[in-house]
């Protein structure tokens, strides 16, 4: 019953795998990988060394690993919350199915398509094997890690899905939990120490992964057996005081600093004249309407994770400050869309959008309030992680001498916050469902932020473009912007890092513009944000006109 004739599994597989979307996505994926191999393939006058073949294989592995880390939560995090949102959760629990059958059905149905995608890349990886420099055992090891990662990330996302009532909350917490696990896994399995790499991949990861699976399965099983959230169907407003009674770890006190920056106290008096009511409601009530669990988990995980990162990237190796900024940017990439991508779609889902459109508020005022609220919450949460950066610049002499780089880093982080919020809001105005808006926002952000970094890595190894031309392709990525800032201590007479390695002193200028990547990034996004805001306004305005016409 658990595997064979599992109705949950059968239903999900039939719905998901028979869709045109599944076929199209797989075709696009394999075509993309084929193009990557095609352009790296040796041709007349172009030879590929064993080292480059290894590099291509590593790119394949890393690309697929991050695909697993990104896609597994997007499939699994909505598997139980989706039932709650569709109001079928209680019916599912009331059916004669055992919790273990539901769990296995949901997990396998979420991961089957992902595993099919991974396996469909195998022929192309085998083609890379023909280039030499790669062992078959390496390919087997890589695929073992990918399958284990898919299972672990899927289970963790499923656990989050069982604990939260909204898909967006489950998705962001899943990403945040998976992020450190994925980074540790990549660092351990991609180390150049062959013995350590093989030992970790074969002797350490599988047993630990299975242990994690066992614990998570037990937890989710218990939660499905005795569900405390039955009756709410993911729609009820959580009582803040009641929730705080049972809260563990970080608690949010609206009267304290810095909590009140992102969650001002509830209004007990009348709004003063001229106040934007949408903004007031978004900030003072909306953020806590589904409880504070997601926010508290996000804050705790990100802050606790930032302490070892701060030690390793800012205090031990100050020249690696850009890596810490990348962590902050990644945090915003994950958290920013949660507050913006649901801004307008949630009004639709709650059927309050038409009500909002019939008020005296202008569309411009509504859209601006939505943007400002999302931007404020995501910026404050993201800037909590810049405390570490400020402390490092204050306490470390090498960084103190380059105070201007701190300002540029902070500007990059602020610009990223603006970008994630405006893109999320645009996707929200164009989508019907919050889950769709969130996935589209994440995809757009990945293409803009992470895509250029992957393209650069690929072109550096296999392309024939100059370094400055490659850099010009990365101007939309905050990661590239952060790494384009030269981190050289003025106290050092030679351009060397603390470990003696050479550091580039001259920033690469973008051809045709004559500015470094970070400067172009800082100029580009404010303009893009205005254009995206105008597009959001127009999309919302069209809906407003339609509402007026039908009324």
């Amino acid at each position: 019953m658990i595997f064979r004739d599992n109705p949950v599994l059968l239903r999900e597989l039939l719905v998901n795998l028979r869709s045109n979307r599944a076929f199209t996505l797989q075709l696009l994926y394999v075509t993309f990988l084929g193009i990557v191999v095609y352009f790296a393939w040796p041709s007349e006058g172009k030879l590929v060394s064993a080292d480059l073949a290894q590099r291509l294989f590593n790119m394949f592995f890393l690309g697929q690993f991050f695909l697993v880390a990104l896609v597994a939560p997007s499939f699994a995090a909505g598997s139980i919350t989706g039932e709650k949102e569709r109001k079928t959760y209680e019916m599912l629990l009331a059916s004669p199915l055992r919790p273990s059958s539901i769990l296995v059905g949901k997990l396998l149905s979420s991961l089957t398509y992902l595993v099919i995608l991974i396996i469909s890349s195998l022929p192309l990886v085998i083609i890379c094997f023909l280039l030499g420099g790669i062992l078959l055992s390496e390919i087997a090891r890589a695929y073992l890690i990918l399958i284990l990662a898919a299972g672990t990330f899927g289970l963790l996302s499923l656990a989050c899905s069982s604990y939260f009532s909204r898909t967006s909350s489950a998705l962001v917490v899943s990403y945040l939990v998976i992020l450190p696990v994925a980074v540790i896994c990549v660092v351990l399995t991609q180390t150049k120490e062959v013995v350590l790499r093989d030992f970790v991949s074969i002797a350490v990861l599988p047993p630990w992964t299975l242990a994690v699976w066992a614990v998570v399965i037990l937890l989710v099983n218990r939660r499905l057996l005795r569900p405390p959230d039955v009756g709410s169907e993911g729609k009820d407003v959580v009582d803040e005081e009641q929730e705080m009674k049972y809260a563990i770890g970080v608690v949010i006190d609206r009267d304290l600093f810095p909590d009140k920056l992102f969650a001002p106290a509830k209004r007990t008096d009348l709004m003063p004249d001229g106040t934007n009511p949408v903004l007031d409601k978004e900030l003072r009530s909306e953020i806590f309407s589904q409880g504070t669990l997601m926010l508290r988990v996000v804050i705790q995980v990100s802050m606790l994770l930032s302490i070892p990162l701060m030690a390793a990237l800012l205090f031990l190796k100050p020249e690696n400050a850009a890596y810490y900024v990348s962590y902050v940017v990644t945090f915003n990439l994950l958290v920013g869309p949660v507050f913006s991508a649901g801004s307008i779609t949630q009004e639709r889902e709650r059927q309050t959008l038409n009500l909002l459109l019939t008020t005296l508020l202008t569309p411009g005022k509504i859209v601006f309030a939505k943007l400002l609220a999302a931007l404020r919450v995501s910026t404050v949460l993201t800037f909590l992680l810049t405390e570490q950066l400020l402390l490092a610049y204050l306490l470390i002499p090498e960084l103190r001498d380059r105070a201007w780089t701190l300002l540029v880093f902070l500007a990059i982080i602020a610009t990223t916050c603006l970008a994630t919020s405006t893109i999320g809001l645009l996707c929200s105005s164009l989508s019907r469902k919050t889950s769709v808006a969130m996935v589209v926002t994440y995809m757009a952000l990945l293409v803009l932020f992470v895509g250029p970094v992957g393209v650069r890595k690929y072109l550096e190894g296999f392309g024939e473009m100059s370094y400055s031309q490659i850099e010009a392709l990365t101007i939309t990525s905050p990661y590239s912007a952060a790494f384009s800032i030269p981190m050289l201590s003025s106290q050092l007479s030679t351009p060397t890092a603390r470990d003696g390695s050479l550091i580039s002193t001259e920033p690469t200028l973008v051809p045709g513009i004559g500015l470094p990547v970070w400067a172009v990034f800082l100029l580009l996004y404010p303009i893009l944000a205005v254009l995206l805001y105008v597009a959001t306004y127009l999309a919302f305005r069209i809906r407003w006109w339609k509402a007026g016409g039908t009324g």
Binding site: Y246, A247, I248, G249, V250, V251, I252, D253, L256, F257, P258, D259, I299, Q300, M303, S306, I307, M310, A311, F315, L316, L384, E387, Q388, L391, A392, L395, I396, P397, R498, D499, G500
Partner: protein
């Protein structure tokens, strides 16, 4: 039922404490040592004089804090043959992590690390005493209070 809770400001305070410790260890100087050692001693004294709600816990902090100072900064500290605590091994490992090629001063590094370990030992004592007092307070029929008044 008691629950372990802390505020966001408390979490940010933890980050500041970690940053100060890391900054001192990555650039060990006499000034850093003087500052951190004074802080460690000051906290030990402050814990004795604390007569607030967490009296039992502060006594735990003080006992563990002073015990660590006496064990590691006493006259027998540099005597050969005397067994050293496990924190010495941790310090050696930490010294390796902090990249000796940079030329860190081993003496000040060790002294700063001892000061930080003293604060950590005090906090461990604080937590232990707090946990024990809470347990006895929660026990049925118990009249022991964490406020120090029975």
């Amino acid at each position: 039922m008691h629950r372990s809770r802390f505020t966001l400001a408390g979490l940010m305070g933890l980050v500041v404490a970690a940053a100060v410790g890391m900054a001192a260890l990555s650039h060990p100087t006499e000034l850093w040592f003087n500052g951190l050692f004074s802080l460690a001693i000051g906290l030990n004294f402050a814990a004795i004089s604390l007569e607030a709600r967490g009296r039992t816990a502060s006594i735990g902090y003080s006992i563990c804090g002073w015990a660590y100072i006496i064990l590691n900064f006493g006259p027998w500290f540099n005597t050969n043959g005397v067994p050293h605590p496990i924190t010495d091994n941790l310090m050696e490992w930490g010294y390796g992590v902090f990249d000796p090629d940079v030329g860190l001063d081993r003496f000040w590094f060790r002294s700063i690390a001892h000061s930080l370990f003293d604060i950590a030992a005090g906090l461990a004592g604080w937590l232990l005493a707090w946990g024990l007092s809470r347990k006895s307070h929660d026990a049925p029929g118990s009249t022991i209070s964490t406020t120090g008044h029975s």
